[in-house]
């Protein structure tokens, strides 16, 4: 831990405020940069409604494109990172990640089915394209199966869930591969682009959907912060501390599946955030979920916003898939922390 355990409660408000400020700066940067640069004055004048339309469409770009996109990055980043944090806590394994229980594989299979077999036109449901709906359905089906497989009369076994998650990930993966084999070139490109993830499809209704589900889920995670701490000791230990372990597990899995499922449905699979961000936060403030969950959410959001900004800048006006950028930022950061991890007690 970089912050000593003793001074953490005292410094916490400062740390959390700092992460919010960082997120705000990231959002403003995200609004400013892109194919068409927008100056800070233009953003301020747009915010204060003193915007004069001088014909450069800056407010249209802000309202229609950059703002929904940046806010979507905020919510998706917060959802992925905090879901990663609670999944690692629930599985008592620092290498766990929502994709471990099959969310991403199920979503990929669902999206591939939609792209190859349904050949979607422009039809949509609640602002979501057919591909997104299929991806969400795919992730839900896989998680439900994993959960059912791991649950018997004696409760839900986390170890079985992990194994069932791996098995169903492979199963969904082979289905996806089969569909790729059958697909023609256009479909192949669509599948692979979808899988790399992107926030360019942001719009108001999608943003609203992800925000509502994401907000509820993160609130549920935070509500179970002490239960998750106790679960790190082991399940029966948590039970002896008065925690209704089966209910906590069910609620957390449900929220992870819904929040990550809907994020993947609108933004594709964005690698690395769910795994790496909680790790980095643990190195900074330790494993206590009281601090881990909020800080994962804010810094996960900041990381994805910045990654998205970069993805628009590197090859402008072409956009890189944001998943590439998160991995490119995250991996070196993670490696440098790994090299020093013994110093922080993990």
């Amino acid at each position: 831990m970089m912050v000593s355990a003793e001074s953490l409660p005292r410094l916490w408000p400062l740390i959390f405020l700092g992460s919010i400020v960082l997120l705000m700066i990231s959002i403003v940067t995200g609004l400013m940069f892109g194919a068409v640069p927008i100056s800070l004055e233009q953003i301020v004048s747009w915010l204060t409604f003193t915007d004069v339309d001088n014909g450069d469409f800056s407010h249209v770009i802000l309202e229609q494109l950059r703002l929904p996109r940046t806010l979507l990055a905020v919510v998706v980043g917060a959802v992925l990172a905090s879901s990663g944090a609670v999944t690692q806590g629930l599985f008592r394994n620092p290498l766990a990640d929502p994709s471990l229980i099959g969310v991403s594989a199920g979503a990929s299979a669902g999206a591939s089915i939609a792209i190859v077999l349904l050949q979607p036109s422009g039809a949509s449901l609640m602002g979501l394209s057919i591909v997104s709906v299929a991806a969400f359905a795919g992730s839900c089906i896989v998680v439900v199966l994993v959960y059912r497989l791991a649950t018997n009369t004696q409760g839900t076994s986390v170890a079985t869930m992990l194994l069932a998650g791996i098995a169903l990930t492979f199963l969904a993966g082979s289905l996806t591969s089969l569909l790729e084999f059958l697909a023609d070139n256009t479909m192949l490109r669509r599948i692979s682009l979808w899988r790399m993830g992107g926030l360019d499809a942001a719009n108001g209704s999608r943003l609203l959907l992800v925000t509502v589900i994401g907000f509820i889920s993160i609130a549920v995670f935070y509500r179970y912060r002490y239960a998750l701490n106790a679960l790190l000791l082991g399940e029966s230990e948590a039970r002896h501390l008065g925690i209704n372990v089966d209910r906590v597990k069910f609620h957390i899995i449900l929220c992870v599946a819904a929040a990550v499922g809907v994020s993947v449905a609108v933004a594709g699979t964005i690698a690395f955030i769910g795994l790496v961000v909680p790790h980095v936060i643990r190195i900074i403030v330790g494993p206590n979920h009281r601090y881990l969950i909020p800080l994962s959410a804010t810094l996960g959001a900041a990381l994805l916003v910045n990654a998205d900004t970069l993805s628009r800048l590197v090859l402008a006006p072409t956009e890189l898939p944001v998943g590439l950028v998160t991995a490119a930022i995250g991996a070196p950061m993670f490696i440098s922390l790994l090299r020093r991890r013994s110093a922080y007690g993990s």
Binding site: M1, S4, A5, E6, P9, R92, N93, P94, Q154, G155, Y226, N229, A230, L232, L233, G234, S236, E237, R239, H240, L241, G242, I243, N244, R282, G286, P287, N288, Y344, G345, S346
Partner: protein, 274 residues
């Protein structure tokens, strides 16, 4: 409630049977525990010691076999009320359990781990901090409180876990009566810490806590426990105060030949050697 207050009985186990997959692990086990007393469960490997502890702790596969009993007499009663009718949260304020092994792979500090014991209570950070400090003092880990759990030795982890369960039921103001279940608390400890720890447990019980512990070392049981319950193949072989129960016939019965009873030259307590 009145009867229990008079006799001071906290836990009443009546004709308890436990079986898993048709294998009988405990058969007709009955005994009771009083506040302020330490009771040791002894027996060979597989005699059902841990099963008994885990059945009382309410761990899932070890729940009692349902017996059709019109008077509903068999089962585990805590404060005269069947343990299955207590809510989990309420029970956690009264009963703390130290498991045999604890895996914790996350770098909590030792003080954080002990602090987890205060989860069932809402007594505020200030008071919880004092209790954590006092419990760590009792098990001699207070000097390690800022070290990471993942970086201290097995014995230190064990003492930290004991401090955690003691912190869980530290104050009689938070809940009475209190029961501490320990599964081999001294397994990973050196001799001096074994003694220190058992003394801490003994002192803790004197504050009105009933302690039920599984121990392998029968000498520790005879030195620090008030009562001994000897289990053999899931049945109680004998049950009573150490001085009455611990004798050569019991040892012969429990461990076969070659285990002999002596008396400690200094304390006069029973001493078992093989």
């Amino acid at each position: 409630m009145e009867a229990s207050a008079m006799t001071n009985t906290i836990l009443d186990v009546r004709e308890l049977s436990v079986s898993i997959d048709q294998r009988q692990l405990l058969i007709d086990v009955s005994f009771s525990l009083k506040a302020g007393e330490v009771t040791a469960i002894v027996g060979t490997n597989g005699a059902g010691k841990s099963t008994l502890l885990r059945a009382i702790a309410g761990d899932k596969p070890f729940t009692p076999t349902k017996i059709v009993d019109e008077k509903c007499l068999s089962g585990i009663y805590f404060c005269e009320k069947s343990i299955s009718r207590w809510s989990q949260q309420e029970l956690a304020k009264h009963i703390a359990v130290l498991p045999q092994i604890s895996q914790l792979n996350f770098p909590f500090t030792l003080a954080d781990v002990v602090g987890l014991g205060r989860i069932p209570h809402s007594t505020g950070a200030q008071l919880d901090g004092e209790i954590v400090e006092a419990a760590m003092q009792a098990t001699d880990v207070v000097h390690l409180k800022d070290r990471f759990y993942t970086q201290v030795s097995g014995g230190e982890q064990q003492r930290c876990q004991l401090a955690r369960v003691m912190a869980q039921i530290w104050r009689s103001e938070d809940a009475t009566p209190r029961l501490l279940l320990l599964d081999e608390p001294t397994a990973a400890l050196d001799l001096s810490h074994q003694q220190q720890l058992m003394c801490a447990v003994q002192n803790f019980s004197k504050q009105g806590v009933a302690v039920l512990m599984v121990v392998h070392d029968i000498n520790l049981a005879s030195t620090y426990a008030d009562n001994i319950i000897a289990l053999q193949q899931g049945r109680i072989l004998c049950n009573g105060p150490v001085a009455e129960v611990l004798n050569q016939p019991l040892l012969d019965n429990l461990f076969g030949g070659d285990v002999h009873l002596f008396f400690h030259p200094k304390t006069g307590k029973p001493l078992v050697l093989s």
